[in-house]
């Protein structure tokens, strides 16, 4: 298989987490299934994102809920929720510039979700990024 861009890896991570969220199936089974379908599900960056979100999901959801202005993470549509989870995780690692992490999530929301989703995703991630910056100051 060819090299996977970070954007493709991020896309695959959101798909795997979305599948996990909706079906409750274990991640290894979903990865196996995706590989069988010819997807790059074993890419190291994809795996790091999925493992990172899975390991820290409660805290990530708490951050989403506290930044979502009246919405709890469990009431956000599953696709938006998992786009947000990946981005909140990436914002927490500090490995990716803040504008890039937010822009990538907003672009996914634009392509995949309802019309109001990009603005919602942008707003939540903006607040999470501000909290991160304040905590680091």
């Amino acid at each position: 298989m060819g090299e996977v861009s970070r954007r493709q890896a991020r896309r695959q991570a959101v798909i795997l987490l979305y599948q996990r969220d909706v079906t409750g199936l274990p991640v290894p089974e979903l990865v196996e299934n995706a590989l069988h379908a010819g997807e790059h599900a074993d890419d190291p960056f994809t795996q790091a994102l999925v493992d990172g979100v899975e390991a820290d999901r409660s805290e990530i959801d708490r951050r989403i809920t506290s930044s979502a202005d009246g919405w709890t993470a469990d009431r956000i549509a599953p696709l938006e929720r998992n786009i947000l989870r990946v981005a909140v995780y990436e914002l927490g690692t500090g490995d990716v510039p803040v504008p890039v992490a937010i822009d990538e999530a907003v672009e996914m929301a634009k392509k995949w979700c309802a019309a109001e989703a990009p603005k919602f995703v942008n707003g939540v991630l903006g607040r999470v990024a501000r909290e991160n910056a304040e905590a680091a100051a």
């Binding site: 090299e3 409750g24 890419d43 392509k111 995949w112």
Partner: protein
């Protein structure tokens, strides 16, 4: 039916089944097993539909939904049998893009 409609329906049915399973504690084991089997089949279907639904949304976002009479993907524009153009030439960098190898 579009993949997104399929996904919406299958997800709704899966939620209904989960609720039925949760409320079936006092039902015969065979009935619970049948519900669990249906949920398992439906989960497998949802897993398969999700990438298609996302690819469909991406295709719509790009505005490249194939129209009747369009050439098949990868077909030469002039219908000839010469070499394909280099696909890497189509890449356009987009500023904040992370679309480079990880």
């Amino acid at each position: 039916m579009s993949a997104r409609s399929e996904l919406e329906q299958a997800t709704r049915r899966l939620e209904e089944l989960s609720q039925r399973i949760a409320g079936a504690v006092d039902r015969p084991a065979t009935e619970i097993e049948e519900l669990a089997r249906q949920a398992s089949d439906l989960s497998a279907a949802v897993v398969e539909i999700i990438p298609r639904a996302i690819a469909e949304a991406e295709s719509d976002a790009r505005g490249d939904v194939p129209r009747i009479g369009d050439p098949a993907p990868g077909a030469p524009a002039d219908g000839g049998d010469g070499p394909q153009s280099d696909p890497s030439g189509a890449f356009v960098p987009d500023g904040l893009s992370e679309d480079e190898p990880a």
